[in-house]
Amino acid sequence: MMTTSSIAKEENISQLKPLQQETICPTAKMQAINVDAWFGQKQILKTVSLTVKPNTVTAIIGPSGCGKSTFLRCFNRMHELVPNSKMTGKILLDGKNIYDRQMDPVQIRRRVGMVFQKPNPFPTMNIYDNVAAGLRLTGAKKDTNLDDIVKRSLEQATLWDEVKDDLKKPGTSISGGQQQRLCIARAIALQPEVILMDEPCSALDPIATAKIEKLVIELKQDYAVVIVTHNMQQASRVSDYTAFMYLGELVEFDETSKIFENPKNKLTEKYITGEFG
């Protein structure tokens, strides 16, 4: 097996990259255009562009440290929360750049929900409040249809039947897989347009993983889903489009079937055949 560094030497990946996207794609739900990102002096993303179509699942794969999580966090402006982080380029949501001056990250994040690598339900809140937390921020009270929204969100996250009698229990009292679905319900409750998932199954066992994967496929009926994963089987099972990233650059982006069956790029081929990673 070859080491990653020798691969990098062997192939000059910048030359193999697809042409950079400059044009705005009118059918896209979200579109990243020439995104660069840094932590301090270290450049994490190098001119990455990507289109997310509505009602699809887009997977971002690549070896760890390739910048895929950072890229994902640029889509809802979570990247800028890290001290010393920097980002340039555009990310469009319905054709409008979310990094424009008049756009507010707080409102962007309600339209672009996120699910994290480790399930992170709020430990000080019960299951019901975990789902309702986002709505309560804008002043929703009991008398609105909060109960309905919580129920619907939990149902959509396929968690309702398991927790409907325990809504007053702490959000951290359920199993890891249930916690992750609770976090999905928490994101859904805000009725976002896009859901970002950052390796949502990496902390889960195979059965819980299968449930989440099934859920991801169901979710695309209502949302555009972007999922980061280091698990290529998972990408091929759940996604319609797949982007392969390596060392901060987007190497190849295409329909999932093409990426896995007929990759254009040598590096992509080597990665999906497991030669490195």
Partner: protein, 312 residues
Amino acid sequence: MKLTGDKIFKISATIIATSALAILLITGYTLAVGSVPVIQKFGLNFFFGQQWNPIEGKEVFNILPYVLGTLATSGIALLIGVPLSLGIAVFLVEMAPKSLSVPISYLVELLSAVPSVIYGLWGLFIFQFWMRDYIQIPLTKYLGWIPLFSSSQSSLNIFTAGAILAIMIIPTIASISKEVISAVPNSIREGAYSIGATKWEVIHRWVLSYGRSGIFGAIILGLGRAVGETMAVAMLIGNAIGPVAMPISLFQPGQTMASLIANGFLDTTRGSLASSTYIGVGLTLLFISLIINVGAHVVMTRVFKVKGGAVE
């Protein structure tokens, strides 16, 4: 049994480590023995009476005003000091860039290095006049008809003492709260941001709520410091004695247990009933302070055992 070097070493270290226990026991014993005469003489009235008369033959020493005075000044200190300390802790951890938060936390810690007597000196010559001009005079002018704000002429009073205590407990509460807030897992903040919370909402609804028991412990430690603080209070509280020291108004001279001892002890003759009285006050203070500090210890060990990471 053969005594090896290691055994001697261990035994002597053990014996010496007992010094902590010894200090506590000696303190308790000395104070208990010393206060026997005065408690025998006045019984429960010692704690619950208000009278004070040092004239020989007519001696009466009751300490309720000073117990209440201690509660009043500590209460004021917490009311002012806790919000300030939490604001500082939140600012340092959640808001300020590192280049600012490091020097500021350093300055706040310096506040705790300044000796109490220097706070007292500064209070006597500068701070009491700030209090008089910016708080006491405006408040009594408009709200003076409420007993709580009725004024004596002096700015050496319960409120000034409580305010200086507030400054003095800031480093304690702020630095512990800072560690508590830093220990809140980042995943909680990220989760809250991801559902569209503003920074203040993240702090207020998630971070402070997650850290509440640790912050509670920090507040109790601050209370412990306020209750036992002596010099600055003794110099600024106005040294009232007897029933007039009952804390009714914020702006009247008062007395705490600790300040009573500092202000009055030198004038007593050894072995007199008065000197036993001061020791009895010390015993009462020991008791209150033990309860507070044991409470703080229990809270803090639980907080940092559950959540991992060591403070204190």
